[in-house]
Structures are given as C-alpha cells and as structure tokens.
C-alpha cells in the first residue's frame, strides 16, 4: 500500500511473471473525428489503487469504458487480464460501481437482491446455490450492510447505496473494482467511510481503479494517480503528483479545477 509499491508494480509491467490487470498501448478514441482520448499508454498491476483524475470532459469516463471493453479503441490496444478488453468475457472478475444517482430508479428491489446480481456471472441461467447466498451475505457483512439487506434500495442514503454496489462487486468475487465518481452526491461523512472501505478492500488484494474529479479524495486515498486531459499528463505515485505541475498543465490552473462543478 505504500506509494512505492505502485511504482514498483509499474516497473514490472510487461514482465512475463506478472500479467497486468489493465494494459493500454497507444490508445486513441473519438466519437467523432476529434479524439476524446489519444496516445494513452498505461498499465495497472494486480493490487494497485489507481485514480484517474481530470476535469469534466477530459475523457475519464471514455477511458474507463475503453479499459472495461465497453468501447473499442479507434487505434491502439486495450487489454484486460491479458485478453483484448473488447472480447473479455469473464465478467465475474470485474466489479463496477457507477455514480449513485444512476441507480436511483424507483424500482422495488432490496439490497440483497442487488447484491445477488454479483453472482449472476457465476450462475448464468441457474439458481443461486446456498454457497452463492453465503457469498452474498458475506459481501453484505463486509460492507456493513447486513442490517439493511431486506430494505428497498431506493430507501437508502447515497453512501449506503454505494456500499451495496461495492457488495455486489464483492459478491462477484471481483479482482478489479472500477468506480466512476462514486461519491458524487454522497454526504461528507459517508464519503470518508466509503474511501475507508475501498482501502480495506485494496489491502485484501483487490485492484481499485477510481475515476474521480474530486482531487482531495484522490490524494488522500489512491497510491497512484493518472492525470488525464485527452492525453496523460501525469502517471506516478500520489505524493509526486501533489508536488508536480501536472495539475496546472492538465487543468489550466489548479484553482480553476477546484472551483469546477459537475
């Protein structure tokens, strides 16, 4: 968990003994002729806690989609656990948590039913076995949501809801947890507790990839920062990022960014 481990991990990138969780080589992508991201090369190793930061419209979410294989790169190559990301089909190894607002539909569904979905990549068309349910309940317990298991998800606070989604990723036994601005709209105390949970999961060996525009959250929690604004401005340990001038380069000025709002 030291900031040095991230750097060490990067140095071993590409070595045959350790397969990168995510590997991007010269990736470019654009919805139109203008690229949203270009010339992006980076590698994330097993067990890292990486944050991708950048201003609004910097291509963070697009990069995340490229990493997860939801988009195919225009040029370059994106690999997930050593396979081309676009055709990667072992969804159980991935956990995804979106902004909590995206799950605020008025659907009658309990927390336990949401976490149960984490087992779907494993059971396919079948029913959950007692072992599957044990994993579900264990995941609920890990994130401290067991007392809320039977509650409707729409009745939870933003922070609790995000914990339920983390539990869903845990239930799928995800090795890589990808979070897209997970604390937008979540109250401050819950945000702190949320990042505490992420850290403890990372300590357990889960690779964490955080897409974030909240710089405070990033510098307090992640071991490694990738600073993006169409191209990568910085990629290194968080401590170095704080002292670098990457921020000013990527965002124009730091003050601009900190005053930015979604």
């Amino acid at each position: 968990m030291s900031s040095g481990s991230a750097a060490t991990a990067r140095e071993t990138a590409g070595s045959p003994e350790q397969e990168a969780v995510i590997e991007l080589r010269d990736v470019a992508f654009g919805y139109t002729a203008t690229p949203v991201v270009e010339d992006v090369s980076l590698s994330i190793q097993n067990g890292e806690y990486v944050a991708v930061v950048g201003p609004n419209g910097s291509g963070k979410s697009t990069l995340m989609q490229l990493m997860l294989g939801l988009l195919e790169p225009g040029t370059g190559a994106a690999r997930l656990f050593g396979e081309p990301a676009h055709s990667f089909d072992d969804g159980g190894r991935l956990g995804y948590v979106a902004q909590h607002a995206s799950a605020s539909k008025e659907m009658p569904i309990t927390v336990r039913e949401v976490v149960k979905m984490g087992r779907f990549p494993h059971v396919g068309f079948g029913r959950l076995s007692s072992r599957d349910w044990a994993i579900v309940d264990d995941a609920l317990d890990t994130v401290g949501m067991s007392p809320f298991a039977a509650r409707r998800i729409t009745q939870l606070s933003g922070g609790q809801r995000q914990r339920a989604f983390i539990a869903r990723a845990l239930a799928s036994e995800a090795e890589l947890l990808v979070l897209d601005e997970p604390t937008v709209g979540v109250d401050v105390e819950s945000v702190q507790a949320f990042y505490g949970l992420l850290e403890s999961l990372n300590d357990r060996g889960i690779t964490v990839l955080l897409i974030e525009h909240d710089l405070g959250a990033v510098t307090d929690n992640a071991d490694r920062v990738v600073c993006l604004n169409r191209e990568v401005y910085f990629d290194g340990p968080t401590a170095e990022f704080v002292e670098s001038d990457a921020l000013a380069h990527a965002f124009g000025t730091a003050a601009n960014f900190l005053g930015d709002s979604e």
Binding site: L68, I109, P121, S172, V186, A193, H213, D214, D220, L258
Partner: protein, 355 residues
C-alpha cells in the same frame, strides 16, 4: 377453376397443419372446459357453462400472468410505451392477414400475421435504439403511427365488409375467442413464461443496471432484443380480448400498482400478477353482467385496484416503514459492529467535495 381448387386445398392444408401442431393445446382446452362446466354445474354459475366464456376466461388468466411478467421489466426500464407501439404494429399485422385472406385466400388467422409483423416491428425498434444509443419517444411514436397507418390503409383498400370485423381487434372481444386462437395463446404463454424463467437473472440485471450488466459480461443487446420480442408476443396474445387500444394497459397498470406496495423485485412480480388476475376475473364477471366489452371493464378494474394500491402504499410508508431514514441522513457510526469497522478505517483527513 384449378386456381380456386388449389387455394382451397392450400387453405385447408395450412389450417390442418396448424391444428395438428396445436393438438396438445386443444386437449388442454378440453380439460379446462370440462373443469369449468363441472364448476358451473356444482356452483350454479351460469356464465362458466358457455364455451366462449370458458375460452375467454382461460385467455384472460394467461394474459394476467404474462402481461405483468413482461411489463415489470418494461416499466422499470421506463419502456412502458413500447407495448402501445407494438400493439399498433400488431394491428398492421392483423390488417396484413385480413388483406392476404381477402386477396389470395390464404386462410390463416390474422393473429399469426400479427405475431410476425409485431416481431419485425419489435426488432426494428430495438435496432433503432441500438443505432441511436437510446430508446426514444420519437422513434417509438413513428413506429406506432406507421403501424396504425399501414393497418388502416390495408383495411380500407379492401371490401367494406371487412371493416366490420376490425372492431374486434381494436377493442377486443371475449365472445369471438375461437378454439384455435385460444390454442395459439397457450403456445405464446408457454414461450413467454419459459423464456422469462430461463433468462430472469439476465433480464433483471439489464433492467436494473445496464452498464454493470454489460461489464459483468451479459450481452445486453441480445437480452434487449429478447425483451421486445417477448413484448410483441404478449401484445398479440392479449389483443384478442383487450384490443389494440387497451392492450398496453395490462403491461403497465398492474405493475404500477405492485410497485406501490412491494418491497422486493420478486414480491413485485408476484403482486403484479395477482393484481392483474384480480382485474381480469373482476372485469370478465362485471362485463358479463352489464353486457360491456371485457377489455374496457378489465382495464377499469385494474385502474381501480391501482388506486387502492397507491393508497395502501402511502399508508404503509406512513405507518409501517417509519424506521426508514431519510436519504443522506445516515450516520455510518450507527450501523452496529460492521459500521464501526468502516468508520475506524475511514480516513479522517479533509475531503474536498467540490461537486
């Protein structure tokens, strides 16, 4: 002369083939009729003794299961209108069937051509949404209007006598449910319930969180296609007694009612089916008594039940779920032992919340 003979032979052959295929369904219908006749005799309920009523009730009960079953997934994806759009294209399918029967004397039931046309329209809607990356009101409205326009055009090209029979497709008619169309509905019912039972995990994931479903490896586009195709089947099946104009109500109203009172997804599925069945049984009984169209009365009963469900839901929230905290007011330190783990590990340093 030879042409006419050939057409007659073709017609009788196609109907015979269909009837052979539907054999097991006819057997089921016979058992059902026997059961209801017995109930009619024993309980002295006159309406259950009529053949058309027996078929109508069976069709109604099947609709009461399959419409909310599919509707639950549609409503929670905000796709309630897709049923309406497909019903109107199914009307075009009926018109195609009537047209072909009139012109080349094809002799197939218009429900079969409705199935085909509605399925094509369903795929078309899905393809539009895949290309434009969203289900949008405009494309659905275009499909809806096109279906209805095509239907009215084809019908009016034909002899005036045909327009008489169109009413039964527009408004539905319990008394014109033939054995063949009831048998076809049983087949549709089997396909729909079987498909949902098989793919319930995937449909639930796609409905609740499409992106996460995609990440977890579910081929979302395929399940969306399955969903709209099943919707087309439900719509055509339910059209017999609900009519084109009211068929979408069965997909939406019971589900909306269930959402008010159910806490879990499984519960909402069961409650919506229960509410739909109640609407169907009440609606058929009342329509028989007052001599009105069953479809309309069923929907009115459904809406009445929905209003009751809304009231029950409000009372439940007020008196039953008071322990439910307001959004954002949870103090994570109060979550018991597990919550304590999480505050201990929380990084106490200042967090920039610039959003």
């Amino acid at each position: 002369m030879t042409g006419v003979l050939a057409t007659v032979l073709l017609q009788s052959q196609s109907n015979e083939t269909l009837d052979t295929l539907l054999g097991p369904m006819y057997w089921l219908l016979e058992q059902w009729a026997g059961l209801l006749s017995w109930v009619a005799r024993e309980a002295g309920i006159e309406m259950l003794g009529y053949g058309f009523m027996q078929r109508g009730i069976l069709v109604g009960l099947c609709i009461g299961v399959m419409a909310p079953l599919i509707g639950t997934f549609l409503v929670h994806r905000q796709l309630a209108l897709i049923g309406d759009a497909l019903a109107h294209t199914a009307f075009a399918g009926v018109a195609v069937g009537l047209f072909l029967n009139a012109v080349i004397d094809l002799g197939v039931t218009p429900y079969l051509t409705a199935v085909v046309v509605a399925m094509i329209a369903a795929l078309f809607i899905e393809l539009i949404s895949e290309v434009t990356d969203a289900y949008n009101d405009v494309s659905m409205a275009i499909v809806l209007s096109t279906g209805f326009a095509l239907g009215t055009t084809l019908i009016t090209i034909n002899a005036g006598g045909m327009t008489v029979s169109v009413e039964q497709y527009l408004f539905g008619n319990l008394s014109t449910v033939t054995s063949q169309s009831a048998a076809i509905l049983l087949v549709l019912f089997g396909i729909i319930v079987g498909m949902v039972a098989l793919t319930r995990n995937q449909l639930l994931y796609v409905t609740f969180d499409e992106t996460a479903a995609r990440v977890s490896g579910i081929p979302v586009n395929w399940y969306n296609r399955i969903m709209v195709m099943l919707t087309a089947l439900v719509v055509v099946g339910a059209m017999q007694i609900m009519g084109v104009i009211l068929v979408a109500a069965m997909l939406v109203v019971p589900v909306a009612g269930a959402s008010q009172v159910a806490r879990s997804f499984n519960e909402s599925l069961l409650v919506s089916i229960a509410l739909a069945e109640l609407s169907v049984i009440l609606g058929i009984a009342v329509s028989y008594q007052i001599g009105a169209t069953a479809g309309g009365v069923i929907v009115l009963c459904g809406v009445g039940i929905y209003a009751v469900a809304v009231a029950v839901g409000k009372l439940k929230t007020r008196y039953g779920d008071q322990e439910v905290p307001e959004m954002g007011s949870i103090d994570v330190g109060d979550d018991g032992a597990a919550g304590a783990m999480w505050t201990e590990e929380a990084d106490g340093s200042d967090v920039v919340t610039d959003d």
